[in-house]
């Protein structure tokens, strides 16, 4: 690479990144774009902590015996892996970084409705994160990310109270973010930006915020009750007092299933943008795709019992939950089929963002359809709490949302940093992640159906070959995830300065300079055209 370091352009001099250099100007900022960057750093940090725990799990599972970690050690490792990845990486990963950065830009606003509240929610998130790091250092917690009672409330001896308080605090950070997004989308849309002209990214974040605000408080009270039982002896879940062991599960899953849609809906929004940009064509069936996000959010609240088919739940309730779990899949189906139809007769360019979007669609569909398999009562009785479930949720959370996270990173990087990266590296990483991912998690479907239970580190020798394949895949994945941080950071110094609209796509954020100035728009734009208003090229019209 012969180019020498490219000095700052005059656009960059006035960008939000240059509006103040001191640490104070970053740590006390109320600029939604800077808070997005702060979240990006924090989220990546926790991804590596969670990833390191995953690496430990995969190393331990190389051998049937418990040779690398003790029983307690393994239990605490996968619990921390789950807790950190879910609450401190995946839930904030897209909404708090790209949602924060892009929603005001996309709807033509100067900032979110409550800028100070936005900064407060970052600090609350950090407080929860630090408390979780304390839990990590203090010996971890041995309950699984599900904290089932009476194990968590009476028998576990890890730092259960500290862990529940940490998640309780992090929960309020997501409630405040959700509240901020809903009020912003309702009240700060630019003149002419009607609901029908909103980018689908904004629709999916609106649906996500509805879930954030309605479901997270139930998690807060449920975890608080566990802490109350351990600290004060108030035995609400205590079976010996006549407490119902399923009550905790109902309250936990009433939050935790909608929480999985908190994790995937932002990714679905990102992919709608990436597909439209790649095909340079409006998304097929805009209103169906927009309302399918809302439908997922609403029906998502009716299906939680599919985690409790074998828990002793009444068979009639299980049948109702199973049926509703099929209904929740329909909106996802609409999105997938509409994306495919969008590509028909498009002008498709295979840039890195679109490769990540394609890998998202492949893995999300495969993960989602195995979710349907799990929703089948008789099959779930066999595969519940086995690696089949672990494979399902990694396909759809890691294969899906993490791919979309990297797709968004590669798509909006020029807008966020003002620099372009070397595309070929992006394409390689996307393919590398896709292959490494499948090698890691496809064998786990087989393990699951063979009867390998979850949360086991001493297993039957006949499973070893599949585990070795999975651990090999995990090491490739570990490397693949680190790759983007090389050429992206490289682009900060040596990357070509990016024009306002490097991909030539629609969207208000692409009308601002890259990187955008602190106040986003000199004057608030007036929106006159619909979303994805691509000119129909000459030869298409004939």
């Amino acid at each position: 690479m012969t180019e020498r370091h490219i000095p700052e352009t005059d656009v960059e001099k006035v960008s939000y990144l240059r509006a103040g250099h001191s640490l104070r100007s970053w740590l006390l900022t109320t600029d939604h774009k800077r808070i997005a960057i702060l979240y990006l750093y924090a989220v990546t940090f926790f991804f590596f902590i969670g990833g390191a725990a995953a690496a430990l799990v995969r190393i331990e599972l190389l051998t049937p015996g418990g040779d690398f970690l003790t029983n307690e050690g393994y239990n605490r490792t996968f619990t921390l892996h789950g807790v950190i990845m879910v609450w401190f990486f995946l839930i904030p990963s897209i909404p708090n970084t790209f949602g924060n950065f892009l929603i005001p830009l996309m709807i033509g606003a100067r900032d979110l409705a409550f800028p100070r509240l936005n900064l407060l929610s970052w600090y609350i998130y950090l407080l929860g994160g630090t408390l979780t790091l304390y839990v990590l250092v203090a010996g971890g917690v041995d309950t699984g990310w599900t904290f089932y009672t009476p194990l968590s409330s009476m028998f576990a001896n890890g730092n259960v109270v500290a862990a529940t308080v940490a998640i309780f605090i992090a929960g309020f950070s997501s409630i405040l973010t959700g509240l901020n997004f809903i009020v912003t989308i309702h009240t700060l849309r630019a003149p002419g930006m009607t609901w029908g002209r909103l980018p689908l990214f904004v629709w999916s974040h609106y649906a996500t915020s509805l879930i954030l605000v309605l479901a997270t408080p139930i998690l807060a009270i449920t975890l608080a009750l566990i802490a109350a039982e351990r600290l004060f002896g108030i035995g609400i879940f205590d079976p010996s007092l006549g407490g119902d062991p399923l009550l905790y599960q109902h309250l936990f899953w009433f939050y935790s299933h909608p929480a999985v849609y908190i994790m995937v809906l932002p990714a679905l929004g990102v992919v709608s943008e990436l597909v439209a940009a790649a095909a340079r064509k409006p998304v097929f069936g805009y209103w169906f795709v927009a309302f399918s996000s809302i439908a997922i959010a609403i029906i998502g609240f009716l299906v939680w019992g599919h985690h409790m088919f074998v828990s002793g739940q009444s068979m009639y309730a299980s049948a109702v939950f199973s049926f509703l779990s099929l209904a929740v899949a329909v909106p996802s189906g609409i999105k997938v089929y509409n994306w495919t139809a969008t590509l028909y007769k498009g002008h498709i360019s295979l840039d890195p963002p679109f490769l990540f979007a394609m890998s998202f669609i492949g893995l999300f569909v495969f993960g989602g359809l195995t979710g349907l398999i799990l929703a089948m009562l008789a099959i779930d009785v066999h595969v519940h709490d086995t690696y089949f479930v672990v494979a399902h949720f990694h396909y759809i959370m890691v294969g899906g949302t993490v791919s979309a996270f990297f797709g968004a990173l590669h798509f909006w990087w020029p807008k966020i940093t003002g620099r372009e990266y070397i595309m070929v590296w992006g394409r390689l990483t996307a393919i590398f992640i896709f292959l490494g991912f499948n090698l890691t998690f496809f064998p786990q479907y087989l393990l699951g159906y063979l009867g390998m239970p979850r949360r086991y580190h001493i297993y039957d020798p006949s499973f070893q070959v599949l585990h070795v394949m999975s651990s090999l895949g995990a090491s490739l994945l570990g490397v693949a995830y680190v790759l983007p941080f090389t050429y992206l950071f490289y682009s900060l110094r040596y990357g070509k300065p990016s024009p306002p609209n490097p991909w030539g796509v629609t969207g208000l954020e692409w009308t601002t300079p890259s990187p955008p100035p602190k106040q986003n728009f000199d004057q608030i734009p007036v929106v006159t055209t619909g979303p994805y208003d691509y000119p129909v090229e000459m030869e298409d019209r004939r």
């Binding site: 119902d244 109902h250 009433f254 009716l302 739940q313 009444s314 109702v320």
Partner: protein, 92 residues
């Protein structure tokens, strides 16, 4: 402050106290299974009085009203589906 507004507020207050005495009184009647229905129904009326008048929901736009009632509707989902399990559990 307009006298009418003050009077209205006090009237609402009196209504609330009456409803309170109603619900406490009803708890002494042998209503059996209907008892929770009555006590929650009265509580709902008291809550909507406060929402509508004291919290000035009357003059807010539909959007704010929706936000006020949304949580209540969502709790219904939790209550209905949880009780669908608890009630039909014995019969397997």
């Amino acid at each position: 402050m307009a006298r009418a507004q003050i009077l209205q507020a006090i009237l609402i207050w009196v209504l609330l106290l009456i409803l309170l005495s109603l619900t406490v009184g009803a708890s002494f009647l042998p209503l059996g299974r209907m008892n929770p229905v009555v006590s929650m129904g009265i509580a709902l009326i008291k809550a909507s009085l406060i929402f509508w008048f004291y919290m000035q929901l009357k003059k807010e736009r539909g959007l704010v009203r929706l936000a006020a009632l949304g949580a209540g509707a969502w709790l219904l989902i939790l209550f209905l589906l949880v009780s669908s399990d608890v009630v039909t559990r014995g019969s397997f």
